[in-house]
């Protein structure tokens, strides 16, 4: 459904120093710098897949999404979405996709949601009876009803996001590009949006590519993730494999019979915390069995739990370390 090959985007931006002198200099002698936002990424996404697109701020996620939707021309490389070249912006292509970026995009701020939906129905040539059915279906799925007759400005953030999704999906696009669809929403609203996206994907087999800084979104929705860092794709694979690949360690939680000191535990692994009789250790996966044997043989243990480190921490570490987090051999072999 989506195929990108060596996709790259560079653009020029004006560089200005602060202050009066900087302003004068900028006026008479404008300087520009080139930004390589996306540096040759390749991937393909099958119909019906939900893929998480992860990366720290400024990594190139939004630029990539804009290239995939045809809003910007790539500097190099090629891309096909639903059989179309996005930046040709053919109407047949635009009818098959949607892009949701933020919560103040499609809706008319001072009018009820239904008015915005009416325009969208007409723009996408949806017959009035069919549009009515779709509005009813989407409002049921999203849990919006009386809110549809309220001015958009009176809606809560969560309701507005849901209404934005309604407006974006009224034409039943096959490919959804979602940029931070749960940004700023409370926990319940986030869960509702996730549930809706899963339902929509199951019902219409839509392909979804979404960016989010909330790992809960990614864990709930995506089996596959792509990670981008400084414009390069540093990982493309299953979410489960992220832990295997980037977190070659386990967290061991201990409850001891007697209080312990950090010095006593250092020989078993990295001591993350010691609090009275409770301690947390980070142990390399390869050494886990041997370390557990030593722990049980050396210390008086009341309880012991082994767990994966939280995904947020792993991803955070990858973003922090960037491409260096990926072994060079793996980077070359990443399925791009």
């Amino acid at each position: 459904m989506i195929a990108a090959r060596d996709l790259a985007k560079s653009y020029r931006t004006a560089a200005k120093e602060p202050g009066f002198y900087g302003t004068l200099r900028h006026f008479f002698h404008r300087r520009y710098r080139s930004i390589d936002a996306v540096k040759g990424i390749s991937f393909s996404i099958e119909p019906g897949e939900i893929v998480g697109f992860l990366g720290p701020n400024g990594a190139g996620k939004t630029t990539a999404l804009k290239m995939l939707t045809g809003l910007i021309h790539p500097t190099a490389g090629s891309v096909q979405v639903a059989g179309h070249t996005p930046f040709s912006r053919e109407h047949a292509f635009l009818r098959r996709i949607t892009l949701v970026m933020g919560q103040k995009q499609q809706l008319i701020w001072d009018l009820p949601v239904l008015d915005s939906l009416r325009i969208n129905a007409a723009v996408y040539d949806i017959e009035p009876a069919e549009a009515k059915n779709r509005v009813e279906e989407l409002s049921r799925m999203l849990g919006l009803k009386e809110q549809l007759t309220q001015p958009v400005r009176k809606l809560s953030l969560g309701e507005r996001m849901k209404a934005e999704l309604m407006a974006s999906l009224l034409h039943r696009p096959e490919v959804l590009f979602l940029d931070e669809p749960t940004l700023g929403l409370d926990v319940n609203a986030q869960a509702a949006v996730r549930k809706f996206l899963l339902e929509y994907n199951a019902l219409y087999g839509a392909t979804i590519l979404l960016t989010s800084h909330y790992m809960a979104d990614i864990v709930a929705l995506c089996k596959r993730v792509m990670m981008i860092h400084e414009g390069r794709l540093i990982y493309d694979g299953s979410l489960d494999a992220v832990l295997e690949r980037f977190a070659p360690y386990r967290e061991v939680k201990l409850e001891l019979k007697q209080e312990a000191r950090a010095e006593d535990l250092r020989s078993f692994g990295e001591v993350e915390s010691v609090d009275g009789r409770e301690a947390r250790l980070i142990v390399r996966r390869d050494d886990l069995t041997q370390t557990l044997e030593r722990l049980l043989g050396t210390l008086e243990i009341v309880d012991l739990t082994v767990s994966d480190p939280p995904i947020e921490r792993v991803i955070g570490k990858i973003f922090h370390d960037g491409a260096s987090a990926v072994p060079k051999t793996e980077l070359a072999a990443t399925p791009t």
């Binding site: 985007k9 653009y11 020029r12 931006t13 936002a37 630029t63 804009k66 939707t69 045809g70 809003l71 910007i72 021309h73 930046f87 912006r89 109407h91 635009l94 009818r95 996709i97 949607t98 892009l99 970026m101 995009q105 499609q106 008319i108 001072d110 009018l111 008015d115 915005s116 009416r118 325009i119 969208n120 129905a121 007409a122 723009v123 996408y124 040539d125």
Partner: protein, 263 residues
């Protein structure tokens, strides 16, 4: 095909009319901000008492009142709307819909115009109530012709300003350029004085520009003074075609620049 077109047009215009009704108080203020012709009316009526301009005070009253009314129908603000959309990132979602954004901008103007009609009718009633001597009837034929020409003038003005707005693809403040064209409209279109009082040579030059066709020409038809309006209407069509062509070329190039720079 035609049915779909009308459905789109009706949805866009009626929703925008609803939107403009939300802003009805602002619209009255915007309409009142176009009162300059009525101020100039007072000035010119005083100046013309000596009869040196070949026009009587009542002629000036009618002229500037017609300038005011026609101004209500030909006012365009697409440059500010488009500039806001580009600067605040609202243009991108519009570009992802299978319809040219110009249809939405046009819909906004038509919707606003419908809201404004009520105000114009009320204002006419008040004006003629206060100054019954200025009442005139242009005749059905002139009224019909004036309506066509005003529609053409609006289309021309819209195409001109929308083309200026498209400069917003390259610079953040296309409205600054529009301020320059506004000056031309003030002095060269017949807003500050009827073209009839301009020197003959200047008048001849001005008719080679698009400006008088948007103010002076529709006004003279509405006053019933234009004997043969169709040659000038044909010139208007020529200007309109020129600006539409220029607009489409600028649109294509601007879009290419916009999508190259990072949208």
């Amino acid at each position: 095909m035609l049915r779909r077109f009308w459905r789109k047009a009706w949805a866009i215009v009626s929703v925008n009319h609803a939107l403009m009704n939300e802003y009805r108080a602002e619209i009255v203020l915007w309409a009142l901000s176009g009162l300059l012709p009525l101020v100039l009316m007072g000035v010119w009526m005083n100046v013309s008492r000596g009869g040196q301009f070949g026009m009587q005070p009542v002629d000036f009253a009618r002229y500037f009142f017609a300038v005011f009314v026609i101004g209500q129908f030909t006012t365009v603000w697409v440059v500010w709307e488009f500039e806001g959309d580009v600067v605040e990132g609202r243009l991108s979602p519009l570009l992802l819909q299978p319809i040219d954004p110009v249809v939405r901008y046009l819909g906004m103007h038509v919707g606003e115009r419908i809201t404004r009609v009520v105000f114009i009718v009320l204002f006419c009633a008040v004006f003629f109530g206060l100054y019954p001597g200025a009442v005139w009837w242009p005749g059905w034929a002139n009224l019909g012709t004036a309506m066509i020409v005003v529609a053409l003038a609006f289309a021309m003005r819209f195409a001109m300003q929308y083309t200026v707005a498209l400069v917003g693809f390259w610079t953040e403040r296309a409205s600054a350029i529009e301020s320059l064209t506004f000056l031309c409209f003030m002095f060269l279109a017949g807003r500050i004085a009827p073209l009839a009082v301009y020197p003959e040579g200047l008048r001849r030059v001005l008719w080679w520009t698009p400006f008088p066709y948007i103010v002076d020409f529709p006004v003279t038809i509405l006053l019933g003074h234009e004997a043969d309006p169709w040659p000038k209407a044909a010139v208007m069509l020529g200007w309109l075609a020129f600006f539409i062509l220029l607009n489409r070329i600028t649109w294509r190039r601007g879009l290419r620049h916009y999508s190259a720079m990072g949208a």
